[in-house]
Amino acid sequence: MSRPEEIAPPELFYNSKESKKYTENSRVQYIQYVMTKRSLELLNLKKSSFILDIGCGSCLSGEIISSATEEVNQGMNHYWTGLDISPDMLEQAIIRKEEQKFNTNDDDSDDEESGDVGGLRNGDMMLHDMGQGIPFRAGSFDAAISISAIQWLFNKDNNNQDPIKRIRRFFESLYSSLTKNGKFVAQFYPANDDQIDTFLQIAKQTGFSGGLVIDNPESKKNKKYYLVLSCGTMSSNDADDADNL
């Protein structure tokens, strides 16, 4: 199977047809749910937080971030800001947001999603290229999350793009946009071990501590990579999870 990032840049790959397909595919939704829930678990937040979602796509992840259920967030009510480079993906999020508004206004019955107070209305979406830097002032976010996105930073879509420069810009601006003990968890699909090393090395150079968590390492299909980084020092609890840098 070819990797989407080898076919075309993300804003072209996820055109309106692909975006709609992606958002409505229930297997995609399930995998997104599992990876977002796991990322939140690795963030290990203790109170309702302000979270940056990098490469939010159609905000399937955002919906899970702001789910105030026991199962996902122990009742915490997080707010988030999502960045994505694909206007068509964001368009899908707007459509779903409008649908949710309509449904909640229309429906007083106790549906199965009670506990999901905010839904997509807990979030903001913006059109942005993470390689151009995270455009938020110092100390904005308590945490950042990214699902299946940061491997796109290795793409070189035109002659002026230097992936290493973009990755460095990404990590240094992300570091600055997080609070003092802010954390960043990113699930990603590395093409090879070099890409993992590059992320870890640049993250460390820009001030992060932490490392890599691999879930289901024996499974070819379900093996998942998570960068787990912190602006402060990792607590012993977190350190058990991540190989130290």
Partner: protein
């Protein structure tokens, strides 16, 4: 885009990083505002913890400036103080939090633009989504 976000978003041009004019952005006075929710006490109450946490981070002067850009001059000149214990808020504090919710979370900029006063780049907001992509000569 929630009004809350205006207190955090800054120009992403690298050269503007060292300039104190790149935050807050200057909002066009023609910006169109909309309310996100019908007022809902359950949602406000479930947001107490978040709002108390975020109030600590808000740069009040920047908020005053952005509200002025958008035609609201009614904010108190200094940041209100709320006790951190969510379980023991008095009625006055609950009222302040409700007002903060309506201002920061419930008010959204749906159409308009914002400009960096350092490099003068204008960012458009359409359908509630700001376009932060930089043209090649600025990125």
């Amino acid at each position: 885009m929630k009004l809350l976000t205006t207190n955090f978003i800054k120009c992403s041009v690298k050269a503007c990083e060292s300039s104190n004019k790149s935050f807050p952005l200057k909002y066009n006075n023609q910006c169109q505002l909309e309310l996100n929710y019908e007022e809902d006490d359950e949602i406000i109450q479930s947001s107490y913890e978040f709002l108390i946490g975020i109030l600590d981070k808000i740069e009040w002067d920047a908020l005053l400036k952005v509200c002025q850009d958008l035609g609201n001059n009614d904010l108190p000149p200094t940041k209100p103080i709320i006790n951190e214990d969510v379980a023991n808020l008095n009625d006055n504090e609950k009222l302040i939090i409700k007002q903060l919710f309506n201002l920061l979370i419930n008010t959204e900029i749906v159409e308009g633009s914002m400009q960096c006063e350092s490099c003068e780049h204008i960012y458009q907001i359409k359908n509630g989504i700001p376009n932060l992509l930089l043209p090649p000569h600025l990125s």
